[in-house]
């Protein structure tokens, strides 16, 4: 007993000594940022934008590695078991919180397996329809959808996708079930919306902003607490009387559990400096979003966000009774 305690103490001491050594020289080689989705998608784009700026700040290249599959849980699982030396980090979005409920056999515990670096950005969502959808404003839209709930169809980009989450929220808010049609990703879903094959979708501005501007789809509301600069005429869901429908696709940066605190601090500082770059802000603005303020790009803020969001989505997903495994 005494021996094991001693051994454990020795081991802990060794780990601490090693981590102090790591922290002093960190980073002395390239860092891998795992994006658990396909290259070219909205999450990948956010990842690559900040990876480039953080590389400049850290003085070492950050390589984006796309480990797609199973709603982002494969990539997250890889990082959960990666070496906790700060050379592997994970960029994940809201799916980090929802997968805790959507997947009943997750290989890792989202709340236990990671250290938190900070929030990156919160992408607003928009409620959009095919361009010839009849209602003229958000209030009449809600009435119309409720009255015609049995003929209207709603698209999403697959189970667990942001559009699916927003759709669940929408139906529970207006208390009307709508026939939901899943697609393999946003691309095909958006194509069908453009072609008028389907009526409604709720998706990130990353995917919808240009189409709304181009008049190829119609927007009724944004899901953020305040109106967006790019669409000042679009009301918020709260203005329409549905504050519970507020949702954003928030992105966070994580590292495996046990990554030394000094390394986490270094990464956080680097993330904050990247997010403060006006060029990053300008590029995110094109997508209808903004970098998280420095106060949110911190371990504590991300931890609070994740815990809050897991608690928030658990009952919503369980009520809908949809699981991804």
């Amino acid at each position: 007993m005494a021996l094991t305690t001693k051994l454990a103490g020795l081991a802990a001491g060794a780990v601490m000594a090693a981590s102090a050594a790591i922290a002093q020289t960190y980073p002395d080689r390239q860092v891998t940022m795992v994006v658990p989705f396909a290259a070219g998608g909205p999450t990948d784009t956010v990842g690559r934008l900040i990876a480039e700026r953080m590389s400049a700040d850290l003085g070492q290249q950050i390589i984006v590695e796309n480990v797609g599959g199973a709603g982002g849980t494969l990539g997250a699982g890889n990082v959960a078991t990666a070496e906790a030396d700060g050379y592997t980090v994970l960029l994940h979005h809201i799916g980090m919180a929802t997968s805790a409920t959507l997947y009943r056999n997750l290989a890792y515990n989202p709340l236990e397996a990671f250290e938190y670096v900070g929030l990156v950005t919160e992408v607003p969502m928009t409620i959009v329809t095919r361009k010839d959808f009849e209602p003229t404003d958000f209030a009449s839209f809600i009435t119309y959808v409720k009255e015609n709930a049995d003929t209207i169809t709603m698209a999403n980009a697959g189970i667990g996708a942001a559009s699916h989450l927003c759709g669940m929220l929408f139906m529970q808010a207006i208390k009307a079930p709508i026939v939901t049609v899943p697609y393999k990703g946003t691309g095909p879903a958006m194509t069908e919306l453009l072609g008028g094959q389907i009526d409604i979708m709720c998706d990130q501005t990353t995917n919808t902003a240009e189409q709304i501007k181009g008049g190829t789809i119609k927007a009724y509301a944004v899901t953020t607490p305040a109106r967006l600069d790019i669409f000042p005429d679009l009301p918020t869901v709260a203005e329409g009387g549905f504050p519970g429908m507020e949702v954003s696709v928030w992105h966070g940066l994580y590292a495996p559990k046990g990554t030394p605190a000094e390394v986490i601090d270094r990464l956080s500082a680097s993330l904050q400096s990247a997010l403060a770059d006006p060029e990053i802000a300008a590029k995110l603005a094109e997508l209808g979003t903004a970098p998280s303020p420095a106060t949110d790009a911190t371990p504590a803020a991300l931890k609070a966000k994740l815990e809050g969001e897991i608690a928030r989505w658990k009952p919503i997903i369980e009520t809908a009774g949809v699981y991804a495994d």
């Binding site: 480990v67 697609y183 072609g195 590029k283």
Partner: protein, 501 residues
């Protein structure tokens, strides 16, 4: 003339020394990665994305586009020489291209592929320039019902892919369908045929399947004895196609281009489907259908034209709607966003230089590719003289790197190994792998769209005949079935009459 001024703007942009250079870099890189089996354009473009941050938006997109269609050229090279499709769309080329190579006509096959691709690329680029908006409108008319009917037509026609036993071909199609179902059901989230392996939750990788079942199986077969291999290296003569060869490739090339241009526009289906469709058509129309699978020139010229045409026209949804038709296009979207251009319906009007510059560069790139590839044919063919005990480990190493690089997933490598063994067994059983691949590609789309159409139609199956495009496709399917069975029906009737007499 709007078009002329647009095109001249495009060529002025694309022909600037800088952009020409990046176009050249793109097509050379594309050819190289296409030649390396398994390493696809997707992985390469993903790796090169960070480099493009420093470039002008037009230059970077011209280079990335060059990689994409350069890979289409390069992919056919390995398909023909070593039966290893470097790109998914060149899987069909491997069928007859490799047989031509085994008969000592590797040079001819490569030249036919390059010329066919160039012709198709030129025509398809012109189509993109002339008709991008109206073609987009057609693509948007394709809903779930239309896709289902199209897939059904493709699957029924697939039986023509078989030479030999129809029963075996059917079995292979069904096996392909089942393999295609591996993964998560998108409607319920239920995992199917994954044996609890999360790594297969998104299905089996097409590249892994194609590399295993064509390439690895062929390596295993070659290792049985070295007699077969010597055939490959012997005849270097006749690098360029003869006059008779050229004559035989003209019609398939035209038809392949037409098929490829149309299917390329549809998001999802794209170049792979186009190549299969073209092969089927050529076999149907050929005076010598028995040549197919034994090294028919039409079996190379048609699908190669089709996949290259499809590769060009798959830019249409991206350029006019901002919607990527395939993973490579999704990466192009990513590249544009990083450059501060969010693709959408307004790109053509807001960024005319970018829009027309890319279109013009496609033609320039195709020209570069044919100039680049024709002289290289001699070099590629010489590659076959490398002793096989040196060549095959190299091939397998590159395959593994390539397949792994797509998703950084070790389970894709296990899949290559498994399908390599399976492909070898199928070879021994004389079962054709091509129908299996087609089933694998079409199966999931068929199911997805069938169920989606039924959801949209609230369970009413008349949705398939109520929509004109879907109805037309279903009638075509029926016509194919009738044509296929008519001869045997007539024969039976004759038999009946003979007995009656």
């Amino acid at each position: 003339m709007d078009l002329l001024s647009n095109l001249s703007l495009g060529f002025a942009t694309a022909a600037s020394p800088e952009n020409l250079l990046f176009c050249l870099i793109g097509v050379i890189l594309g050819t190289l990665i296409g030649v390396l089996p398994g390493i696809g354009a997707t992985a390469t473009i993903a790796m090169l994305l960070p480099i493009t941050f420093q470039l002008e938006p037009v230059s970077s997109l011209i280079m990335l586009a060059g990689i994409y269609y350069g890979a289409q050229y390069g992919g056919s090279t390995t398909a023909i020489l070593i039966n290893m499709p470097g790109e998914s769309s060149s899987a069909v080329t491997a069928i007859d291209g490799y047989q031509m190579a085994r008969r000592g006509k590797a040079g001819t096959a490569l030249a036919v592929a390059a010329l066919g691709s160039f012709f198709a690329g030129t025509v398809a680029t012109l189509l993109v320039a002339l008709f991008a908006p109206p073609l987009t409108a057609i693509a948007l008319k394709f809903g779930a019902a239309e896709y289902f009917s199209l897939m059904l037509l493709g699957l029924v026609s697939a039986i023509a892919l078989a030479h030999g036993s129809i029963l075996k071909a059917l079995a292979m199609v069904v096996l392909g369908l089942i393999l295609g179902l591996v993964g998560t059901d998108i409607y319920t989230g239920a995992p199917r045929f994954t044996f609890g392996i999360t790594e297969y939750a998104d299905g089996l990788s097409f590249v892994a399947l194609a590399v295993g079942i064509f390439g690895i199986a062929e390596i295993l077969r070659n290792l049985e004895g070295d007699q077969d291999r010597t055939v490959l290296g012997t005849s270097l003569g006749g690098l360029l196609p003869s006059r008779a060869d050229l004559k035989r490739m003209v019609a398939p090339m035209l038809r392949g281009t037409a098929v490829g241009s149309i299917l390329g526009i549809l998001p999802g289906g794209g170049a792979v489907l186009a190549a299969f469709a073209s092969y089927t058509i050529e076999k149907r129309l050929s005076d010598h259908p028995e040549e197919f699978g034994q090294g028919a020139i039409a079996g190379v010229a048609g699908p190669e034209s089709a996949n290259n045409a499809g590769a060009q026209t798959s830019f249409i949804p991206l350029l006019t709607l901002g919607i990527p038709a395939n993973p490579v296009m999704a990466l192009m979207v990513g590249a544009m966003i990083i450059q501060g251009i969010v693709p959408g319906p307004n790109v053509a009007s807001e960024q005319p230089e970018l829009f027309w510059g890319i279109i013009a560069s496609m033609w320039i790139g195709n020209l570069m590719l044919v100039v680049l590839n024709l002289p290289l044919i001699g070099l590629w063919v010489k590659l076959l003289k490398v002793p096989y005990h040196v060549l095959f480990p190299v091939i397998m190493a590159f395959c593994s790197i390539g397949v792994y690089s797509v998703n950084s997933n070790v389970f894709d490598l296990y899949a290559v190994a498994f399908f390599g063994l399976m492909g070898y067994v199928l070879l021994k059983l004389r079962c054709e792998p091509a129908p299996l691949l087609l089933g694998f590609v079409l199966g999931p789309m068929l199911e997805e769209n069938l169920r989606r159409a039924m959801i949209l139609g609230r369970g009413d199956p008349t949705i398939f005949v109520a929509r004109p495009i879907s109805l037309t496709l279903l009638l075509l399917t029926l016509a194919v079935l009738v044509v296929m069975f008519l001869p045997s029906i007539r024969k039976k009737r004759e038999e009946v009459f003979v007995e009656a007499d």
